[in-house]
């Protein structure tokens, strides 16, 4: 009974979280070969003009870039995780809306209300790296905190896969010896690399 529970937990957790594991595997491959994908990385990608308009808004003297950015995103119905910066002369606000699939950049002129929305094209490598690096609680958006919960779920699942995998291996008496040698080799290599590099 317990064995059945272990096997089913191992399997159903894997089926549920397979997209996350696939994402982390593919993104790690990309990040491990960053040089090969250098031309595709975010800083080199073009920003395509999406829309342009005049948006007359007046902010109080002490308004922070985050407050201004949030208000503009709400008006544009683009709420979500963002980063906002104000130019040194305090005339231009740049809002980087870090959408998962295709990020947007909103440039707003505080002096004349001119607003430009640009979008980066979808490119696989930066998308994978963005998703890999996305984590942590504390944001004000449900989706961001939800993603952090899913990252925690993957962490717990990895621990459970390891423990349940060991259990299943030990139950399969015919593989105990070979499995023991293989597991020992892996641990020995891991420890050697940690100690020597």
């Amino acid at each position: 009974m317990f064995s059945k529970f272990i096997r089913q937990t191992h399997m159903y957790l894997a089926l549920l979280l397979a997209p996350w594991i696939l994402l982390y595997a593919l993104s790690t491959l990309v990040m491990n070969h960053r040089e090969a994908f250098r031309l595709n990385f975010a800083t080199r990608l073009p920003w395509d003009r999406e829309s342009e308009q005049v948006l007359p808004m007046q902010f109080s003297a002490g308004a922070t870039p985050e407050f201004m950015g949030e208000q503009i995103l709400q008006i544009l119905h683009l709420d979500g995780n963002f980063r906002a910066t104000l130019s040194e002369d305090k005339t231009t606000l740049t809002v980087f809306r870090s959408e998962a699939i295709s990020p947007r950049r909103i440039t707003y002129s505080i002096t004349n209300g001119h607003l430009l929305v640009e979008r980066q094209p979808f490119v696989t490598q930066p998308f994978l790296e963005r998703m890999h690096r996305r984590r942590g609680y504390g944001g004000s958006f449900v989706a961001d905190n939800g993603w952090a919960v899913s990252v925690d779920a993957v962490i717990v699942a990895i621990s459970l896969w390891v423990l349940s995998g060991l259990w299943m291996w030990w139950e399969l008496k015919i593989t105990r010896l070979t499995g023991g040698v293989v597991a020992f080799s892996g641990v020995a290599l891991f420890v050697t690399l940690i100690l020597t590099s």
Partner: protein, 210 residues
Amino acid sequence: MNATGPTIGQKRRIGFEKINRRTHLYSGLFFLPWFLFYGLSAVVFNHPGWFDSAEVNRKLLFDRSYPVECPNPVGDLRPFAERALRDSGLDGQFVVRSQDFDTVTIVIIQDRFLSNTMITWNSASRRLTAARSGLDWRKLLIKIHTRSGFEMPGFLRNLWPVIVDVIQVAMIMWIASGLYMWWHLKRYRSWGLAALGCGSALFVAFLLKL
């Protein structure tokens, strides 16, 4: 199966299933430490507030006179660093930089999984000082999680990113072989499909809402 035993097709399928299961099991056992540490170290990134990020105290290794000619602080500092490390019995990869204020200070850092050694030389005192930090679990987890790329010299250094690649391939293979095993357990198909569907739908929803 008929009275004369399994057909060639059935034998092939049974053979493939066995290879599939064993590959899933043995690759899992071999890469278990990496997979486990990738999971555990992700906690540091998802919950940075749980960990104390204060610098760990460094222990002095030596502080001795080193009367050599001061290198050009804006030139190539690597020959100086290599010689200073060699003369100190320290080897391995390093990063070197200079701080040029009233006097020139050369700072050499050797960063390894278990320790971080800082060697400094000052043009006024002509002294070479080395201090090493002890084990810092937070930094160790971060290093295990983030070490990648093939830019570093040395066989063992390059073996790590090779293993990183192989583990990712293994993870993709675990998904494929796991899906195969699940699909052939007919009584688990519907619940498995529900789990796979829910996970995929949730993932797509995140992609659209984030």
